[in-house]
Symmetry: D2
Subunit: 147 residues, 4 copies
Amino acid sequence: MYKISYIDDFEQWKREFKFFIEVKIRFSETDMFGHVNNVSPFIYFEEARIEFLRQIGVFTKIKDSESVPVVADLQCNFLEQMFFGEKLLLFVKANKVGSSSIDLHYMGVKENGNVCFTGRGNLVNINPTTGKSIPLTEDEKKKLRKN
Amino acid sequence: MYKISYIDDFEQWKREFKFFIEVKIRFSETDMFGHVNNVSPFIYFEEARIEFLRQIGVFTKIKDSESVPVVADLQCNFLEQMFFGEKLLLFVKANKVGSSSIDLHYMGVKENGNVCFTGRGNLVNINPTTGKSIPLTEDEKKKLRKN
Amino acid sequence: MYKISYIDDFEQWKREFKFFIEVKIRFSETDMFGHVNNVSPFIYFEEARIEFLRQIGVFTKIKDSESVPVVADLQCNFLEQMFFGEKLLLFVKANKVGSSSIDLHYMGVKENGNVCFTGRGNLVNINPTTGKSIPLTEDEKKKLRKN
Amino acid sequence: MYKISYIDDFEQWKREFKFFIEVKIRFSETDMFGHVNNVSPFIYFEEARIEFLRQIGVFTKIKDSESVPVVADLQCNFLEQMFFGEKLLLFVKANKVGSSSIDLHYMGVKENGNVCFTGRGNLVNINPTTGKSIPLTEDEKKKLRKN
């Protein structure tokens, strides 16, 4: 396998994931070559990210909050093709917790155990009115570092 | 062609359309059989509906308004397959204007002039707080009847 | 509730459903008013339809088959708004089995038991080369009538 | 602005783009916070990539070809929020042409001239039967280097 810029030791990187959601590939997510569109993993990242933050209890009061999480960047490496009807486990972890941002990493695993894609992206804590970044609380950092 | 329940005279029905938008089929809207997913026309209806209402000046202040348009039902008849890269003209008209609702009709036309799908759906004028229907103003009815 | 054209007795219509799938609403399916886009039920219909046909064993060899199922029309009535994170049960049944087509009916039910949308659509058995309709076999009709 | 890993000199990087397509943001691409979902730029990348390759005449006979372009990775940096109804110019260029792959770069520009997102991704030339990479022809490389 070729080197992925944000992964040092692939086996160790894999072992560090604990949280995952199940994803069922929708028919509307397949393209005219019969396999899953390369846009879909980013949809799955979003599902996993929201569920992950909800379960560990960070960024849960988005609507009326003075700080909201904003996606600053996203990337995905496609390792193996996926097909309609396949089920995926989508893992997510907080790879690095900064003062006001989190580097979230993602891994899609097929039922046969093969990793079909990897990904990452920064989530920045923002004041929605001023647009400025806001430090994460110690409590939030603690919850994120454990997962 | 088989009979479509909401169309009496197909040729006359076609002639009554004036407003249209151009739609370019996205690659992500094709499925694994190489043709456009049957979900996509409903996406195109939405584009056309919003643009139609904006241009004739009805329901333009949705965000802070005391009445909002709500889609009550939608239907589509698929007459001819569409493929990636094709361009469509999507026509829309107010087929019937009720006291607090509009029966919007849609027609998708390929570059060769063939009608590839037809559709319709009721849009009801609602008070977002109470959920009750609200009469359209005479001005709104007039604008809708002209288009 | 207003009258839906394809439903005679709502309570009886509900009771006739047996098959369902679970649908989890994706964040990307919500719109800027915070509720589920009116395009999404048609995506859910497709998931349910494919799973239904697979489980009862009709139209299972689509790729190399001499007959394929083609969606002729679709409609949906929106009864109650859905929101991100909600789980739905999506029911499907063969309401009427014709000589070469099936009238499939759909019902979306929230966790509180409320029906949030209903729908229907014809599926026609087509020869992909000639485009002509092909009679369903007696075996297919029997399987469909039971579900 | 923060440093983007795949851009050295932002002003020079911008000047090197020549090809672009126009993108109209769809209502179904907005989320419940009123702005464009962060999945959508990847849909736009795909539109731009297909149109770019078609216009310069590379990878045009995908269906029956012995070599197909496969997306190996994708990334996007989100610089400014986009809203429903806005029009974008989406630029694409071949930033680097390898022996059997292309590093495509993308830039989304709003009507006010602001860059709202940047992106990149490798496209690898693959034999669809063996899955092995195939060298680009000199003619293909020449066409890509000019654009």
